[in-house]
C-alpha cells in the first residue's frame, strides 16, 4: 500500500527560531527533473531586516566568546553534519541530479571545511596579528577583530552545501555574525543546515538563513546601514557592481563574486576579509 507523501513547507531561520516569512510567501523547490520537492519560504526585505537585527543582537556574545570556545562550537557543527550525512546526500542528489558518490564527496568536503575553519578560530590571530617594531619603549600590537554583521549571498550554482559552508564558516571564525541569502534553486541544504545549527551550540542569531530571491533581497542588505560587510560570493548573476556601489555609501567591506571550481576555496584570507585591525600601544616596564 502506498503511503501518502507529506510535502514539507520549510521556514526561515532567524535569531535561532524558525519563523515564516513576514510576507507569507512560499515558492516551490523543484528537483533537477522538475518534480516538486518541497515549499520554501520566500523571504522579503523585512525578513532580511529582522535577520540583521537578530545578527546585531547576537554579535556581542559571539565576538566576545573566547577564540577557543568559538572553535569548539564550530567543530561541534561539523560533528552534527556528520550525523546527518544521509539526509544531506539525499537532498543533494535530488536537487542537483548527481549520483550518490558525488553527493557523498560534497558532504565530506563540506564537513572537512568546517573542521578546517574551526581549527583557525584560536590560531588566526597569531598568524595575522603582529608585534610591531617601534622606536620607543612601547609594545605596539596589531590584532584582527571581527567586522560585525556580515551579509552573504550564498553561491547559487551546483554544490549547494559546499558553497554555503565555504561562505559562512570563514565569516564566523573571527566572531562575525551572518545573514545569508541561500541558494535560490537548491535551498534544501541551507534549510537542513539551519536545523543542524539550531540543535548545535551556536547561539541564536549568529547565523541567520533567509531563503528566497537574492535579486529581491540583496539590494536591501547592500544598503542596510547596520550591515558591516557584504560577501557577494554568489552574486555573479546579479547586478553586483550596483550592489558594491550602494554598499560603499555605508562603508561596508565587500567581497566580489567568485565562480568556477575553486570558488570560495578555503583560505586564511577569507577569514581576514571580515576583520578589522586594531593596534594598541602599551608602555614597556623599564627595570
Amino acid at each position: 500500500m502506498n503511503r501518502l507523501a507529506i510535502p514539507k513547507t520549510y521556514k526561515l531561520y532567524i535569531g535561532g527560531k524558525f519563523p515564516r516569512s513576514e510576507s507569507g510567501r512560499v515558492y516551490e523547490v523543484l528537483s533537477h527533473t522538475g518534480d516538486f520537492l518541497a515549499n520554501a519560504a520566500k523571504g522579503s526585505r523585512k525578513d532580511a531586516r529582522d535577520a540583521v537585527v537578530a545578527a546585531r543582537n547576537a554579535l556581542g556574545g559571539w565576538a566576545g566568546a573566547t577564540a577557543y570556545n568559538r572553535g569548539q562550537v564550530l567543530y561541534r557543527i561539523a560533528e552534527l553534519l556528520e550525523g546527518r550525512r544521509a539526509q544531506f546526500i539525499a537532498e543533494i542528489m535530488s536537487c542537483e541530479g548527481v549520483n550518490a558518490a558525488v553527493a557523498s564527496a560534497q558532504v565530506d568536503e563540506a564537513i572537512d571545511r568546517w573542521v578546517w575553519y574551526a581549527g583557525w578560530a584560536d590560531k588566526y590571530v597569531q598568524v595575522a596579528g603582529n608585534a610591531n617594531p617601534v622606536s620607543g619603549p612601547f609594545f605596539n600590537l596589531s590584532v584582527p577583530e571581527p567586522t560585525g554583521v556580515v551579509a552573504i549571498i550564498a553561491p547559487q550554482g551546483t554544490e549547494s552545501l559546499l558553497g554555503l559552508v565555504s561562505a559562512i564558516a570563514p565569516a564566523l571564525v573571527a566572531g562575525n555574525t551572518v545573514v545569508v541569502v541561500a541558494n535560490e534553486n537548491a535551498p534544501l541544504s541551507a534549510i537542513s543546515l539551519a536545523e543542524v545549527l539550531a540543535t548545535s551550540d551556536v547561539p541564536g542569531g549568529v547565523v541567520n538563513i533567509v531563503t528566497g530571491s537574492p535579486t529581491e533581497i540583496a539590494p536591501w542588505l547592500a544598503t542596510h546601514a547596520d550591515v558591516n560587510a557584504l560577501d557577494l560570493v554568489g552574486a555573479g548573476d546579479l547586478d553586483w557592481v550596483e550592489l558594491q556601489i550602494s554598499a560603499a555609501d555605508t562603508l561596508k567591506r565587500v567581497l566580489p563574486p567568485e565562480t568556477g571550481a575553486d570558488a570560495a576555496a578555503p583560505a586564511l584570507n577569507r577569514i581576514l576579509a571580515f576583520t578589522e585591525v586594531k593596534t594598541v600601544w602599551h608602555t614597556k616596564a623599564i627595570l
Binding site: R49, R56, T223, H224, A225, D226, V227, S246
Partner: protein, 343 residues
C-alpha cells in the same frame, strides 16, 4: 447633544455634584464602586483588534512625525547628572542632526532637582508658561516627577515641598504619583485630598498653574476595574492628565490599560465638555507599538486628542526607534543604531 449642566459648574463644584457630597471615603467609595466594571476579555480583544491596523506610507510618515511631537523624552535614573540632562535636552531640540526637518519632542521629563539644569539647557527654546500652539516653532516643556516618585511613600508635607521645589525651579508640568497603598486600602478620600493639595502646590508665584499629570501606576492596581476607578478619582480631583505608570514597575503601560483610561477620558468629556490628557509611559519602545497607541486614541476619543496638550508618550528609547523608521522612509534604505545617539 444637549450640554449637561455639569459643564457650567466650577471644577470643584462639579466633583462635589458628581460624588454627591463632600469627598469623604464613604462618598467616594459609593461613587467609585458604583461605576460599572470592565469586561476584561472584551477590553483586551478590542485593544488587540486596534493593534492590527496597518499604517503605511504617507500615513506612517504622518504618524512618525506626530509620535515625535508627542514624546516626553525621559531620563529618570539615580545616576542622572546635569551633563546627562543637557545631552537629553540637546536631543529633544534636534532629535536627528542629519535631518533638521525632524520635529521637536513635546517635553523633557526629569527628576525635580534636574529641572534647573533642563531649563538652563533649553534656554530660549523653553516653552514659556501659557504658550499656545501655532506660535511658530514649538517650544519644549520641562516636566518634573515629584511627590516622592516613584513609590510615593512619604508624608504629604514632603510631597508638597517636592512639588513646590520643582515648580519654583521652572517646571511646566508636574508628574505626581498617587498613594497606591491608600487607594488599594480603600482610603479614596486620602488619595483625592492629596491630588487636590498637589494641584494647589502647582500654583506659581504669578498665579498660573503648572500642568498636573497624575500617575496611577496601573501595574500595582491589579485590575482594570481599579484602573477605571483610579482614573475617575484622579480626574474628579483635578488632574489635567492621567498617566499610566512610573516606568519603574512591570507591567508598565499596556494597550488595554491605556484604552480603559481613554474611555474614562471620553466619558468625562461627554459629561462635562472638559478634555483630559492621557500619557502612557514605560514599555513603549518601538514605532510599531506607538502607532498602535495613536490608532487607539483616534478611535476612542478622536483625532483632536493627538496634540501634546492631550496625549503624550513617556519614553526614552522610543525616540531612537522612531528616528530609525524616519530615516528609512527618507533615504529608502534601512538605518542602524550607529546613526542615532546612544542616549
Amino acid at each position: 447633544m444637549t450640554q449637561s449642566p455639569l459643564a457650567t459648574y466650577q471644577p470643584e463644584q462639579r466633583a462635589l455634584a458628581l460624588i454627591g457630597g463632600e469627598a469623604t471615603d464613604t462618598n467616594l467609595r459609593r461613587y467609585l464602586q458604583g461605576i460599572p466594571g470592565i469586561d476584561a476579555v472584551g477590553l483586551e480583544a478590542r485593544a488587540a483588534d486596534l493593534g492590527t491596523r496597518s499604517i503605511k506610507t504617507s500615513s506612517k510618515r504622518w504618524a512618525i512625525d506626530t509620535i515625535i511631537g508627542l514624546i516626553d523624552l525621559t531620563t529618570l535614573e539615580g545616576a542622572d547628572t546635569p551633563g546627562k540632562v543637557r545631552s537629553l535636552v540637546a536631543k529633544a531640540l534636534v532629535p536627528d542632526p542629519g535631518d533638521p526637518g525632524t520635529p521637536r519632542v513635546a517635553a523633557v521629563c526629569v527628576y525635580g532637582d534636574m529641572v534647573g539644569a533642563a531649563v538652563t539647557a533649553l534656554g530660549s527654546a523653553h516653552a514659556a508658561a501659557g504658550e499656545t500652539e501655532g506660535s511658530g516653532v514649538q517650544g519644549v516643556r520641562v516636566a518634573a516627577v515629584a511627590t516622592a516618585f516613584p513609590s510615593g511613600r512619604a508624608s504629604l508635607a514632603v510631597k508638597l515641598a517636592d512639588v513646590r521645589d520643582a515648580v519654583a525651579a521652572g517646571a511646566d508640568e508636574i508628574d505626581m504619583v498617587i498613594d497606591r497603598g491608600a487607594f488599594l486600602a480603600g482610603r479614596f478620600g486620602q488619595v483625592y485630598d492629596e491630588i487636590v493639595a498637589v494641584k494647589e502646590a502647582c500654583r506659581r508665584a504669578d498665579g498660573s498653574m503648572a500642568h498636573l499629570k497624575v500617575i496611577l501606576e496601573t501595574g500595582e492596581l491589579n485590575t482594570y476595574d481599579n484602573v477605571r476607578r483610579a482614573s475617575w478619582l484622579a480626574i474628579l480631583a483635578g488632574g489635567d492628565f492621567i498617566k499610566t505608570s512610573t516606568g519603574k514597575v512591570a507591567p508598565a503601560a499596556t494597550l488595554p490599560v491605556t484604552l480603559s483610561m481613554l474611555e474614562v477620558v471620553r466619558d468625562w468629556h461627554r459629561l462635562t465638555g472638559v478634555r483630559i490628557g492621557v500619557k502612557p509611559a514605560g514599555g513603549i519602545r518601538t514605532s510599531k507599538d506607538a502607532i498602535k497607541y495613536l490608532v487607539t486614541v483616534a478611535e476612542t476619543v478622536g483625532e483632536e486628542w493627538l496634540t501634546p496638550h492631550l496625549f503624550r508618550f513617556g519614553a526614552s528609547s522610543l525616540l531612537n526607534d522612531v528616528l530609525l523608521q524616519r530615516q528609512k522612509m527618507t533615504t529608502g534604505h534601512y538605518s542602524g543604531p550607529d546613526y542615532v545617539t546612544i542616549d
